[in-house]
Amino acid sequence: MNAHILLQQLVNGVVLGSVYGLIAVGYTMVYGIIGMINFAHGEVYMIAAYLTAIFLAALTLLGIQSPPVVILMVLILTMAVTALYGWSIERIAYKPLRHSTRLAPLISAIGMSLILQNFVRIAQGARNQGIPTLLDGGVRLMENGPEQFVQITHAQILIVVTAIVSMGALWYLIQGTAMGRACRAVQQDRTMAALLGVDTDRIISVVFVLGASMAAVAGTLVTFNYGSFDFFIGFVTGIKAFTAAVLGGIGSLPGAMLGGLVLGLSESIFSGFVNTDYKDVFAFSLLVLVLIFRPSGLLGHPEVEKV
């Protein structure tokens, strides 16, 4: 084994893990606040990829060329519209079921996921879609002859930096603002928070909006990095991100980020040094093992039975 290859796999893993983490945040926040798994969250990420391409085309039509401006504007626009999707999904599919059985919103979520997937398939076509490359090239570290280097593309740097910045912003929003305090209060005890004057419906909407914006960041970054997407990308990535959320401890924000990183790194290390065929088998075995020894995940709190 040589150091270049190991470092390169670490880079691959961190990039992949950042994407998983960004999406996992959406799963974990929704679970934390209303105790349901939002299975339509993967589709929100997929929609963000399409919106990225649409806004990119629109900005190009308007004659805006400079890559940093384009990237920033596409990111902001995509986040805004995707947030709207997140908000409407909650309003349409989950809010009316707030006081029904636990199973109802779950089924509603699966239905929502199918609706979004098929809507995009019919409206946009089933083919692979692509965008032109905006960010070219990369940095080579420790270069020492052919094959002996660690390469980080500019798009990968963008992924990791944006992920850190947006996670930081989210962390501040939750820990440092009045709205964040309301979110935490609703998470701890929804009834009590409501009694103390917190508009819980509004806070739940806020959580969906925040989760969707994070998925939008992931969708935009992934589209800039890999250049292509189709209506089905939400499924595999969504499942992986959900796994990351459970691995880190569902309901815990730092847990989702950590879970994403652990999953991304373990996938790329296993794939790189053992076998790509069994990469997913390994990732899910890891999940099972963690859940056996820490049923609430790496950073999750064991659920206290409320009487």
Binding site: N2, I5, Q8, Q9, N12, G13, V15, L16, V19, R121, G125, A126, R127, N128, Q129, G130, I131, P132, T133, G138, R140, E147, F149, Q151, T153, V222, Y226, G227, S228, F229, D230, F232, I233, F235, V236, T237, E267, S268, I269, S271, G272, N275, T276, D277, K279, D280
Partner: protein, 375 residues
């Protein structure tokens, strides 16, 4: 819309032939077109449909099958084996088709063909190249394309003799078609005295193959063979180039679609990718006028379009000659005779494979097109 147009055309033809005399004689022959019309491989389904649709229009305009007009029925399997069986049952039981053009993905074709064989239906796939399709002794099963074992031979010969590669990595997508192709490649590399340096499968539907690409670097591959489809081949080749892997990528007919360029994120990434495919049917003298007509209507008959056209031609020829739509009779006739198609004369052996396959190497160019390599 399509059925309306064919219907109008049929009426017109019927008017010519009978002058409004005998309504009772104008029957219809229903033929199923099964393939991925949705999902990631929908581009191939469209090729099937365009080819078959045009063939049916032309046949009906020439008087159909002894006065009967042909009607096409679409069956969408999304390249999902389970859905393919459901589609096959629907075509047989509900739609009452007498023959099927399809399916595309080998993993779908294999189970679906059991349904057709059981019903005694003629089924011809224009695009499934996995050997198993015709290896199971079903009498009414055919294909108008080659087989992966033939494709693997051509690919391996090219990699070893033309590219002079020493360290070949073989990657597949763990699917029936992709892995079958990779296995054929691996087997023929072995007969040429070369052991692959890496043999691994990636997951269909994922986009990040960076870990695998780094592994290609670590084993110092000087050629990478990929058994799979364009939706994974695109991101794979892009990430190879981004990580500075300059080894050529060689693949099979699964990347034979301009969508490959989109999925790679632009023509510059597909530049220099090689693939095996049948000799370009668009260049054959027998198909020139048809290709011209397709282009006039604004459609480029790429990939399997002409294969599907030829498949319908073979079915029609058999139906006209035997005056029957019975699978066993049609199959016996096809195995005993040669059919003139837009792709030249085709004849089949007892298994239902083409007697002559014509795989050649193609190369993708920097403008996002592909060209046949000079032989």
């Amino acid at each position: 819309m399509n059925s309306m147009r064919t219907g109008a055309l049929a009426l017109l033809v019927w008017g010519w032939m009978w002058g409004g005399a005998g309504l009772a004689d104008a029957g219809t022959v229903r033929i199923g077109v099964a393939g991925p019309f949705s999902g990631g491989q929908a581009a191939f389904g469209e090729q099937f449909w365009r080819g078959a649709e045009q063939a049916v229009k032309d046949v009906n305009a020439q008087g159909g099958i002894h006065g009967d007009t042909i009607e096409l029925v679409k069956g969408d399997d999304s390249c999902e084996p389970k859905q393919a069986v459901a589609v096959a049952n629907r075509l047989v039981d509900l739609e009452k088709v007498v023959a099927v053009v399809g399916h595309f993905c080998s993993a779908s074709t294999i189970p679906a063909f059991e349904v057709y064989a059981e019903a005694g239906l003629l089924a011809i796939t224009p695009g499934s190249t996995n050997p198993k399709v015709t290896e199971r002794g079903f009498p009414t099963i055919f294909r108008t394309c080659g087989r992966d074992d033939q494709q693997g031979v051509v690919g391996a010969e090219f990699v070893v003799k033309q590219l002079k590669a020493q360290r070949v990595a073989v990657i597949h997508d763990k699917d029936t078609y992709g892995q079958g192709l990779a296995d054929a490649m691996k087997a023929h590399l072995a007969t040429l005295g070369l052991k692959e340096v890496l043999y691994e499968g990636l997951t269909r539907g994922e986009k990040d193959f960076n870990a695998l690409v780094t592994k290609l670097r670590s084993v110092k591959a000087d050629a990478v063979y990929f058994g799979g489809l364009h939706s994974e081949a695109g991101p794979l080749v892009r990430q190879m180039r981004e990580q500075g892997v300059t080894a050529p990528l060689i693949s099979g007919d699964g990347i034979m679609s301009e969508t490959f360029v989109t999925s790679a994120g632009g023509p510059k990434f597909v530049d220099g990718v090689f693939m095996t495919f049948g000799a370009d049917p668009r260049k054959l003298p027998t198909g020139l006028s048809l290709v011209e007509r397709f282009r006039k209507s604004g459609y480029e008959p790429e990939g399997y379009t002409l294969y599907a056209y030829a498949t319908v031609q073979a079915m029609v020829a058999a139906m006209r000659a035997t005056k029957s739509t019975e699978g066993a009779k049609l199959a016996a006739w096809l195995k005993a005779n040669t059919v003139e198609t837009v792709m030249g004369n085709k004849s089949w052996n007892a298994k239902g494979d083409l007697k002559i396959s014509d795989y050649v190497m193609y190369r993708w160019t920097s403008d996002g097109k592909y060209e046949e390599l000079p032989r």
